[in-house]
């Protein structure tokens, strides 16, 4: 079983709903996290991100000033802050296809639909920490590789130009841990 030392991770929870922040804090402390910072809107979240340099950001979508999607786009600016590669988990009541696609295209690492569960949150955190995806930078996108799988049966055109894009070897930490144990 892959395990995470939560007490060595720094979390930033951004949600305008105080009840949901309390729920998230409770779950994270339950997992063993000690350092959980909170912000109640997108602007305060960006400020807290710069100040605390968290390892994992958990953000709501719908928030005042600017929302979780805009916050993600601001974080995913190469060179603009200390860690544009930070893991971002979007926790939201939105679950329509259009919304999930928009979150993915903004650079969100994982998407977690409400209602929240301890298991669902734990799995998303383990995944972003133990099995990080490489980042892709194009003219229109900067964020985690949106291709989670390589389909050997895919026969359509390769949209990424320039050669080896479809055979990039990842080194999933999850596999390393499994084999070394």
């Amino acid at each position: 079983m892959v395990r995470i030392d939560f007490n060595r991770l720094r979390f930033l929870v951004i949600d305008d709903n105080a009840h949901m922040r309390r729920i998230l804090r409770t779950l994270l402390h339950g997992f063993g996290a000690r350092e959980v910072h909170e912000a109640e809107d997108g602007a305060a979240g960006l400020e807290a991100f710069t100040h605390y340099v968290p390892d994992v950001v958990i953000t709501d979508w719908a928030m005042p000033i600017f929302d979780g999607l805009e916050l993600t786009q601001m974080i995913r600016q190469p060179g603009a802050n200390a860690n544009p590669y930070v893991a971002i988990i979007m926790l939201t009541g939105h679950s329509e296809k259009k919304r999930v696609t928009a979150a993915r295209d903004a650079g969100v690492t994982e998407f977690l639909a409400k209602p929240i569960s301890a298991k669902g949150l734990y799995q998303r955190i383990v995944n972003v920490i133990a099995n990080p995806r490489p980042f892709i930078k194009t003219k229109t996108y900067f964020g985690p590789d949106r291709r989670r799988n390589v389909n050997p049966n895919y026969v359509g055109p390769e949209r990424r130009k320039g050669g080896k894009a479809d055979v990039i070897k990842q080194s999933p930490l999850l596999e390393k841990v499994r084999t070394s144990g």
Binding site: G30, N83, P115
Partner: protein, 192 residues
């Protein structure tokens, strides 16, 4: 401020770059087995949440009040941008919190209200009566949750609200088949 160039390996292709950031979190991952007597972290978090659950009813009570206030503003001043946002947000939060707070049957009524607000192209055309029915339904479900038949009644009520809402949305979005397909399409998010 640290430059990301210093902490990542870059490979450049024709129209894109592949960047493998240095994994500074490797040290926190292990495949250590649970020690005898050691709590499973998920079970520990669930217990912590259960310990908090005594507060959930009062939290939902305040969410219902917030929804009612937002509805009142819409009734008095109409669907201004701010009023629409406040009503949607209040319903959206209830939709997301209902199951966690122990009132899962409230989620459908709140979701139906969210759909009504989000997918009506001209919100001034939304019948206030339909808004009232949604808000009153959500509050009644919360208020009567201790009844043995509460969930069955809630399901009946919200099924009818959803039918009326869908009928209205299809009418308001006539000529926009892509929007109707999106409105009626299933969620693609995996559970839990």
């Amino acid at each position: 401020m640290a430059s990301p160039k210093n902490t990542a390996a870059f490979t450049t292709y024709g129209d894109h770059e592949v960047i493998v950031p240095k994994n500074k979190l490797r040290k926190v991952v292990s495949n250590r087995q649970l020690e005898p007597g050691e709590d499973d972290p998920i079970a520990r978090a669930e217990k912590a949440l259960a310990d908090l659950s005594g507060e959930f009813a009062s939290w939902m009570d305040s969410e219902c009040e917030r929804l009612d206030k937002a509805r009142h503003l819409v009734s008095v001043a109409g669907f201004t941008s701010a009023n629409k946002e406040a009503l949607f947000h209040a319903a959206h939060d209830i939709k997301g919190e209902a199951a966690t707070f122990g009132f899962p049957a409230m989620a459908s009524a709140a979701d139906s209200l969210c759909r009504l607000i989000e997918h009506t192209p001209d919100p001034t055309r939304i019948p206030i009566k339909l808004v009232d029915q949604h808000v009153d339904a959500a509050r009644a479900i919360y208020r009567e949750y201790d009844r043995s038949d509460a969930v069955a009644l809630a399901n009946q009520l919200t099924k009818r609200l959803r039918e009326v809402t869908d009928e209205f949305l299809i009418h308001e979005n006539r000529g926009r088949p892509d929007v109707i397909e999106q409105i009626m399409g299933p969620s693609i998010v995996p559970e839990g």
